[in-house]
């Protein structure tokens, strides 16, 4: 457990930046203590990597060179990890926190709201980067996944930009989903089909249906996969920076932020645990008053 600093009795206006860093580390701590979310976010994609590793063989890339197939699918799975750690994870956990009245409590403190939401996004990026690093480390150790040193920076920047964008989309998901109970269904129903049209698991064949291609091109995940994969692509020559793809991802992030800003709710919806004095405590007045004496 991290050491806790106690600011006892001091008068110090907390700086917004300090607040945000604190929020990030708090969200990270909460994430670490929920084994099930850590499993689905970090271990689940690793399982895919190992399964794929058992299924696919080496690939010849011409010139007598052979690379392991993992060089092609590990980056896609890494992006899937990042999207799960942000979009899916934030969409579900934030909606649940709202149902449980945690957001209600946060709203009653002086913490600026953007600090809280910034903490959620920042923590999502941290978890995504950790998950991706874990996956690539396993990929490198077991399957020889390789990245040129001069392509590490573009890969890292792509990962941070993409994770942040998907974190914003996760906030948008939490904003529109009616309750924490329905959030996993909506998260998976949007994430998995998007993953299939975005070359995450397997590339679409040589002549895919047009709408599959268009769907992939419009949605943000394929751009994220392509931009990240460039850094790992053995056929690619020249710079691994993909500014246009990053712009496309960024625009989706902005869209997510706008939806979140307009629709975000801090109070549980009626019937999911909130609801003021007419809620679950009604109907006991008479007997409770019976305790009074004159």
């Amino acid at each position: 457990m991290a050491a806790v600093a106690e600011h006892t009795g001091t008068d110090r206006v907390p700086s917004p930046l300090g607040q945000m860093v604190r929020q990030i580390s708090y969200q990270n701590r909460v994430f670490r203590r929920v084994p099930i979310s850590a499993f689905f976010t970090l271990a689940f994609p690793l399982m895919f990597l190992l399964l794929f590793g058992a299924i696919f063989d080496e690939v010849s890339i011409g010139g007598g060179l052979e690379v392991d197939a993992a060089q092609f699918y590990a980056p896609g799975l890494a992006v899937f990890t990042a999207a799960s750690a942000t979009y899916t994870n934030i969409g579900i956990s934030t909606a649940i926190a709202r149902d449980e009245g945690i957001l209600r409590r946060i709203r009653s403190t002086p913490l600026p709201r953007w600090c809280y939401l910034g903490g959620v996004v920042g923590s999502g990026v941290c978890i995504a980067v950790f998950g991706v690093a874990l996956m690539l480390a396993v990929g490198a150790a077991v399957y020889g996944v390789d990245v040129e040193p001069d392509r590490i920076a573009p890969a890292a920047v792509t990962m941070v930009v993409g994770s942040a964008a998907f974190a914003m989309l996760g906030l948008a998901l939490a904003a529109v989903v009616p309750s924490g109970q329905s959030s996993p269904a909506l998260a998976q129903a949007t994430m998995l089909p998007m993953a299939f049209v975005s070359d995450v698991f397997v590339p679409l064949g040589d002549d895919p249906a047009r709408w599959l291609v268009v769907a992939g091109d419009v949605l943000p995940l394929k751009a994220f996969v392509k931009a990240f994969f460039t850094a790992f692509d053995p056929y690619h020559t020249g710079s691994a920076w993909e500014p246009w793809l990053l712009l496309r991802i960024g625009l989706w992030g902005v869209l997510g932020a706008v939806v979140a800003a307009r629709r975000f709710r801090w109070e549980p919806s009626v019937g999911t645990g909130g609801g003021g004095s007419r809620g679950r405590r009604s109907g006991g007045t008479g007997s409770q008053l019976g305790q009074s004496t004159d």
Binding site: M1, T109, R281
Partner: protein
């Protein structure tokens, strides 16, 4: 000390003509009141009276439809960070991260405020000393409510809002919570609490506003409230009601106020001896037996039920005379 502070300082909280509707329901209908610095002020009323709605408007958690509200010089509807830095809120139906320990939760939420009370002092105050390292999901319901109280005061607030602070507590826990509120009062914290427990209000509040159906029905110190009805004695009896309306003759001759519900008569009177005599005389003349005849001094609960009764009573056949 509350009255001393009140002389010099401006009110901690001013509400005037407050109104709030949900659809066709007027949850709060023209409330006006003031709370002085250092005062413990209670909103008392049955469920659905508009207590929580009122407090949530004061806290900045809900918008209002009408009226003006000023808390520590702020309009809560603007809900600025500076405003929330100076108030403490104990909400109903509020959650806490299961994964944090009690101490972590206090440190984490305390860090949001510019002023902080020492964590150990707060744990002591709310009776959670020794449970600081326990995860919050391993606490009982009453202990969780104490965390709510602890988080309400961790930021050393000038005004503390307590929305039904002891609902769900066992009697000894309530007693402790009351001691805690007394402790805060002695530190000069202004407290606005809602409750539907008569004894709680009596034990804690300097002043009470009784509300029903969103409206104020009485205001005063607990003693004043009881005093207003203290002279009246209740006389109750049950007898078969005659169709010829002779009961009207009885009711007309009584000094007190009578209420007939079905076959039950309840009489509030300042002349119990005379009215009891008239009642028994009337019954004897007709050869009626007065079942369940009793003569009782009203409790504070009776006063309260009397005040809120008209708005919540489902009985449509009230008749009164005298």
């Amino acid at each position: 000390m509350a009255s001393l502070a009140a002389v010099s300082a401006s009110p901690a909280l001013t509400v005037s003509g407050l109104g709030k509707s949900y659809g066709d329901v007027r949850a709060v209908d023209g409330l006006s009141f003031q709370v002085e610095p250092g005062e413990v002020f209670a909103l008392l009323g049955p469920n659905g009276a508009g207590k929580s709605t009122t407090v949530e408007i004061l806290e900045g958690h809900r918008s209002r439809d009408a009226g003006t509200v000023e808390v520590l010089g702020h309009d809560p509807e603007a809900a600025s960070s500076a405003f929330r830095d100076r108030i403490g809120i104990v909400l109903q139906e509020v959650g806490i991260e299961r994964e944090l320990t009690v101490r972590e939760a206090l440190v984490h939420y305390g860090a949001c405020y510019s002023r902080r009370r020492p964590v150990d002092e707060v744990l002591e105050l709310v009776g959670l000393a020794g449970l600081g390292d326990r995860r919050t999901h391993r606490l009982s319901g009453g202990q969780k409510r104490r965390i709510d109280l602890a988080l309400g005061i961790i930021g050393d607030p000038d005004v503390l809002f307590l929305d039904e602070p002891t609902t769900g507590f066992d009697p000894s826990a309530r007693r402790q919570a009351w001691e805690m509120v007394d402790g805060l009062r002695s530190l000069g914290t202004t407290i606005v609490l809602t409750s539907h427990y008569m004894d709680e209000v009596q034990a804690l509040a300097d002043r009470v506003l009784v509300i029903a159906g969103g409206r104020a029905v009485a205001e005063g110190t607990p003693d004043e409230l009881r005093g207003s009805m203290d002279r009246e004695t209740a006389i109750r009896a049950r007898f078969p009601l005659e169709a010829d309306g002779t009961v009207d003759a009885l009711l007309g001759g009584l000094a007190g106020r009578a209420t007939v519900r079905g076959d039950r008569l309840e009489l509030r009177t300042e002349q119990p001896t005379a009215d009891l005599h008239r009642l028994t005389e009337w019954a004897l003349e007709r050869g009626l037996e007065l079942d369940d005849l009793e003569v009782v001094r009203p409790t504070l609960e009776d006063v309260y039920l009397d005040l809120v009764g008209d708005d919540t009573g489902a009985d449509g056949e009230d008749g009164s005379g005298g």
